[in-house]
């Protein structure tokens, strides 16, 4: 069982470039999440999904887009990268309620210069 995997581990983008952060889970979880963690801070929710084809905004969705075409995959798209998007990005998944334990991927460190 790989759990939650994320690619890439590190990435440097130039301002205005776009990229997709990949996230895959093999636990057949319906719920998936994207968080960002700025230096010295807690995680903030960007987007989440409660199943294939269903996504919704979290606390900080501006500048990002998501899609969920399969149960396993939940990619995060950054359009027109800005320095404010420099952060560590975590993907997580959880099974259906009431067990809300979230399993996290190893994170992607993104720098926008």
């Amino acid at each position: 069982n790989a759990g939650v995997t994320q690619t890439p581990k590190f990435r440097i983008l130039k301002i205005g470039q776009s990229m997709t952060l990949q996230c895959t889970q093999d636990m057949n979880h319906n719920y998936m999440y994207w968080y960002r963690q700025d230096p010295g801070m807690g995680l903030k929710l960007i987007y989440y999904s409660v199943g294939a084809g269903i996504t919704d905004k979290g606390e900080v969705p501006n500048g990002y887009n998501v899609s969920r075409s399969t149960t396993e995959d939940f990619p995060l798209r950054l359009e027109l990268a800005a320095p404010s998007q420099t952060s560590v990005y975590f993907c997580a998944s959880s099974s259906d309620p009431p067990n809300y334990e979230q399993y996290f991927g190893p994170g992607t460190r993104l720098t926008v210069t």
Binding site: Y33, G42, L45, V88, E101
Partner: protein, 114 residues
């Protein structure tokens, strides 16, 4: 708005001793979940302990236990017999229980001295 506050940016403890990390939260919900996550330098988020708000009994996982005070909206983590491997950043998190979304505190960095 629901918020989570960790008022201790940094804490230190001597190896084998006990330390308590504080967390308070603000909510109008009556049913919810609370978590403590550990983030070592590897960056991996690791679940330490979970508490359901409807349970009066405090959760315990080996050397880790919580003091859950629902009326005071307080959720502290006690680490007993601290070990060098406990050194990490610890996050308190709140889940309102309907979508699974987590709201995190700012974190407490725990240093363990040998």
């Amino acid at each position: 708005a629901q918020t989570v506050t960790q008022s201790q940016p940094e804490m230190s403890v001597q190896e084998a001793e006990t330390v308590t990390l504080s967390c308070t939260y603000d909510t109008s919900e009556s049913d919810y979940y609370l978590f403590w996550y550990k983030q070592p330098p590897s960056r991996q988020m690791i679940l330490v302990i979970r508490q359901e708000a409807y349970k009066q009994q405090n959760a315990t996982e080996n050397r880790f236990s919580v003091n859950f005070q629902k009326a005071a909206k307080s959720f502290s983590l006690k680490i007993s017999d601290s070990q060098l491997g406990d050194a990490a950043m610890y996050f308190c998190a709140y889940n309102p229980g309907n979508t699974g979304k987590l709201i995190f505190g700012q974190g407490t960095t725990l240093q363990v001295k040998p």
